[in-house]
């Protein structure tokens, strides 16, 4: 039985308290209580740190994460493209533990009892909470692509849509591919994690082929009617930089896969590739449904935008790619970080018996590499609208790069360094 060790928290709290300065100007009493955070990605790590920082160590936070380190999805396409290594996109949880006094538990949550306010761990035992945060990311809907249901098929036809072992494996498949081969990437219907990500990946694989395997081709099989994100900038990059290498096919939903022959099966067609990379449709990470939270379209969690609290299950806040997005809001790491801060502020108010901030703001920036140096961005700002009870994109704000440029290539890497630190150190 795993029990909360209050002594450990006091020790950790003292460490954080010793270096704490006055953040903001909370007039009332310091919030207290225990918050359990499930999932230590862009959303979960951020909410854990900000709860500790903003409560000045008053709130105890346990973060349950199955991986020993954070491996970043943003920038991971540069590992697939050959510009970066796994080490470059791996960040430790030590800062959360040692600097902020977050109790980080490497484990999996197998059940949530929303009535009793407990979570059950895979390794055994349970934890009780005052408020629960789920930041579970996405899980794949394998039923939609029956040929990929087996572990064997999944190890051959990769998604590499969760950074980690699959990122390395896809890079190896590309390195092993003969010159003159074909790489095909299949994109599911929106909404999916990281809207511009598949097009960025196509660019970076094409960049690798152009430099190392010039007879090879990149085929984009897009289930959508058109390029989902940054279309003019991506199509210009394909025409200018990768003419004769990248071929884009819209309305090309992959319905099934013959993993043995690397064949994608479309509605009226089949496509055989040397390296087949299928991103299956996805939904909120499985623990969301297991928690008894009601899902929209059996896929995404509906949240109250003042608190990120589930509209069906009080006491459980949900962040990041798992949620049913507000209008035009992308599923991105940057946005998950913003959700984490919104939730942290709301949870501290709620633990203190106060209403959450009635006018929250979140914003997004997303950088995509179109070659090893040139980058294009998309940005947006979303303000809470009481009439529609959601955050709405601000008209006239946001937008995309005027053109691909090297300056934003440097900015994109600077963004990564800062957001990793904002989450974890």
């Amino acid at each position: 039985m795993m029990l909360m060790k209050r002594r450990d928290f006091l020790k950790a709290g003292a460490a954080a308290g010793a270096m704490a300065v006055l953040y903001g100007c909370a007039g009332g009493a310091k919030a207290s209580g225990h918050v359990v955070v499930v999932g230590g990605g862009y959303g979960g790590a951020t909410v854990a740190k900000y709860l500790r920082m903003w409560s000045e160590g008053g709130v105890q936070v346990t973060l349950i994460e199955r991986n020993p380190t954070l491996i970043s999805c943003p920038i991971s396409n540069l590992v697939i493209g050959g510009q970066k290594t796994m080490e470059d996109i791996t960040v430790s949880y030590d800062g959360l533990k040692n600097k902020w006094g977050v109790r980080v538990v490497q484990d999996d949550v197998v059940a949530v009892d929303a009535a009793k306010k407990t979570v059950t761990l895979k390794a055994g035992g349970s934890l009780s909470y005052d408020r629960l945060v789920l930041s579970p990311g996405v899980d794949f809907m394998w039923d939609e692509i029956p040929g990929l249901k087996s572990a064997e098929a999944q190890s051959k036809v990769l998604h590499a849509w969760k950074a980690g072992a699959q990122t390395v494996a896809l890079r190896k498949q590309l390195e092993a591919m003969k010159d003159g081969g074909t790489y095909a990437i299949a994109i599911p219907k929106a909404p999916y994690r990281c809207p511009p990500g598949p097009y960025e990946r196509a660019c970076l694989v094409a960049n690798y082929f152009k430099e190392q395997k010039p007879k090879s081709k990149v085929i984009i099989l897009d289930a959508n009617e058109d390029v989902v994100s940054k279309k003019p900038l991506f199509t210009k990059a394909w025409a200018d930089l990768y003419k004769g290498i990248i071929e884009y096919r819209n309305n090309s939903e992959v319905k099934d896969v013959e993993a043995g022959s690397n064949t994608a099966i479309l509605e009226f067609d089949k496509f055989k590739a040397d390296v087949l990379n299928v991103i299956p449709p996805h939904r909120a990470g499985d623990i969301a449904a297991k928690s008894g939270i009601k899902l929209i379209n059996n896929r995404w969690v509906d949240v109250n935008w003042l608190s990120m609290e589930s509209t069906s299950t009080p006491g459980i806040h949900v962040l990041g790619d798992a949620i049913f997005p507000a209008p035009t809001m992308p599923k991105s790491g940057h946005m998950a970080n913003q959700h984490g801060k919104l939730a942290a502020a709301a949870i501290l108010n709620l633990l203190n018996g106060q209403e959450p901030n009635p006018e929250p703001v979140v914003m997004n920036t997303c950088y995509s590499f179109v070659d090893s140096k040139n980058v294009i961005h998309v940005a947006s700002v979303h303000q809470y609208d009481a009439a529609t009870k959601t955050v709405q994109p601000v008209k006239g704000a946001g937008g995309v790069s005027a053109a691909r440029n090297e300056l934003e290539g440097k900015v994109a890497l600077g963004w990564a360094k800062n957001i990793w630190a904002d989450m974890l150190t």
Partner: protein
């Protein structure tokens, strides 16, 4: 021009400059939306190429934001982001960062 706004003044500002239902930590929470790129509490990673806003003069921050909005200051992205916030919100954000170390 004051270079540093004491915390007490900041609190007063937050309470007085927004609607009566405003959250006492509104400035802090608004400023946190900038931290992804500009660092927690405006402490950007050195050498990352991002402006560190912690301790920057409030008037200087507001002038930069105004120039981004008007287009007077060339930008890769800030001309688009600055337009997403109201003048009152930018004032709160600038006040908050100016008071950070």
């Amino acid at each position: 021009m004051k270079l540093f706004v004491p915390i007490a003044t900041l609190c007063l500002l937050v309470v007085s400059s927004t609607s009566q239902a405003a959250d006492p930590n509104l400035a802090r929470s608004l400023a946190a939306t900038c931290a992804n790129c500009h660092g927690t509490n405006g402490n950007a990673i050195k050498g990352s190429g991002m402006d560190a806003l912690a301790g920057m003069d409030k008037a200087k921050i507001l002038q930069k934001l105004a120039d981004f909005k008007s287009g007077d200051k060339p930008a890769t992205i800030m001309h688009q982001i600055s337009k997403g916030y109201t003048e009152a919100q930018l004032d709160l954000i600038a006040t908050y960062f100016a008071a950070q170390k």
